[in-house]
């Protein structure tokens, strides 16, 4: 029987917000056409669409650890399906210097193993100051995977996103 966090995540994949994003081509769960099987829970591989940039892919894959979802927020990083490892730095999305995009996708912190964003569990645990500095981006159990994906999607489609 699925765990409560797994059931909640599965329900959110069927929500209007998630499905509308899938139909717009914004994000989705990696399907069997690209991944033989999803990893064991609490890990899931998803993709997010990125703006067109020369030499950069149209979508990036994320490997997210969803332990305790939604009480706890997801954590994860960009993933390389061909190597089944974290995406190498040279293949990761880059942002303009000092931009929000560059900061969130930085690789010089935690070895690039988590996003430098208040929604990311690892980043949030290490930055209690963000609760007061960025109160609009505090994760709570009313947030869903769509909040997380929409942040990544917005950054990958912003003017600050440069490609890889």
């Amino acid at each position: 029987m699925d765990k409560p966090d797994q059931r909640l995540f599965a329900a959110d994949l069927n929500s209007a917000e998630f499905r509308a994003g899938v139909l717009k081509g914004y994000w989705g769960l990696a399907g069997t056409e690209i991944l033989p099987a999803q990893p064991e829970w609490p890990v899931r591989i998803l993709w997010v669409q990125a703006a067109v940039r020369v030499g950069a892919p149209e979508r990036f894959y994320l490997r997210l650890d969803l332990e305790g979802y939604r009480t706890a927020s997801p954590t994860g990083t960009f993933w390389d399906l061909s190597t089944s490892a974290a995406l190498a730095a040279e293949k990761r999305p880059k942002g303009k210097k000092d931009s929000r995009c560059a900061k969130v996708f930085r690789t010089d912190w935690e070895g690039g193993g988590a996003f430098y964003h208040p929604y990311d569990r690892v980043a949030a645990q290490g930055h209690p100051n963000w609760v007061t500095e960025q109160p609009s981006l505090i994760w709570d159990s009313n947030r869903t995977i769509v909040d997380y994906l929409e942040e990544v999607h917005s950054l990958l489609n912003s003017g600050d996103y440069l490609g890889i």
């Binding site: 929500s15 499905r19 900061k103 964003h117 980043a123 960025q134 609009s136 769509v146 929409e150 003017g159």
Partner: protein
């Protein structure tokens, strides 16, 4: 349009959107009753389809502009309403949502369709305040007197509760994580 059923996303005031599945020959009213978002007694409710983007074409000089999005006839079918293309259905008592956006001591107004996404309102506001498109991307809407910044894909109608058909936003710069 093929005969297969399609997914629809139904938005109501003050509620999370719902998914409904409908065939092309079904009447919209029947779909909405089945989804329990309206009853047969639907007095005062207006139903809009699609995500409305008209404000993005509004000239910079126009003050207090208004969308022209009209409600639809609920006796029409999914196919006739082209919902395979529009996908989104909005049920609301507000025909328009009067939006005020404040930035740098100035204020701009527009009366939007409730079927407008926050992304469109944000884009409209950045344009109205002449923000450089590159730098302006860091500016987002925050509901006045709160710390709430709605997601770009959320719909305006979800944030107002009739009889109040208006909302106030501030255009604020997103904070870059530090520390």
């Amino acid at each position: 349009m093929a005969d297969e059923a399609i997914e629809l996303f139904i938005h109501s005031q003050g509620a999370k959107p719902k998914v409904a599945v409908a065939g092309p020959h079904e009447v919209l009213r029947d779909v909405l009753v089945r989804a329990e978002v309206i009853t047969e007694d639907r007095e005062g409710l207006l139903v809009f389809v699609g995500e409305w983007e008209e404000a993005l074409t509004e000239s910079g000089e126009i003050e207090d502009g208004e969308d022209t999005h009209d409600p639809v006839d609920l006796t029409l079918t999914i196919e006739a309403l082209e919902l395979h293309r529009h996908r989104h259905v909005h049920i609301h008592k507000c025909r328009r949502v009067a939006v005020e956006v404040h930035f740098n001591g100035n204020m701009k107004r527009h009366r939007f369709s409730p079927a407008t996404t926050i992304a469109v309102v944000t884009q409209w506001a950045r344009k109205k305040f002449d923000l450089d498109p590159a730098a302006g991307a860091d500016y987002v809407l925050q509901i006045c007197d709160t710390t709430k910044q709605p997601r770009p894909s959320e719909h305006l109608g979800e944030f107002v509760e009739p009889p109040v058909c208006s909302i106030c936003f501030k255009l604020v710069k997103e904070i870059t994580p530090q520390g």
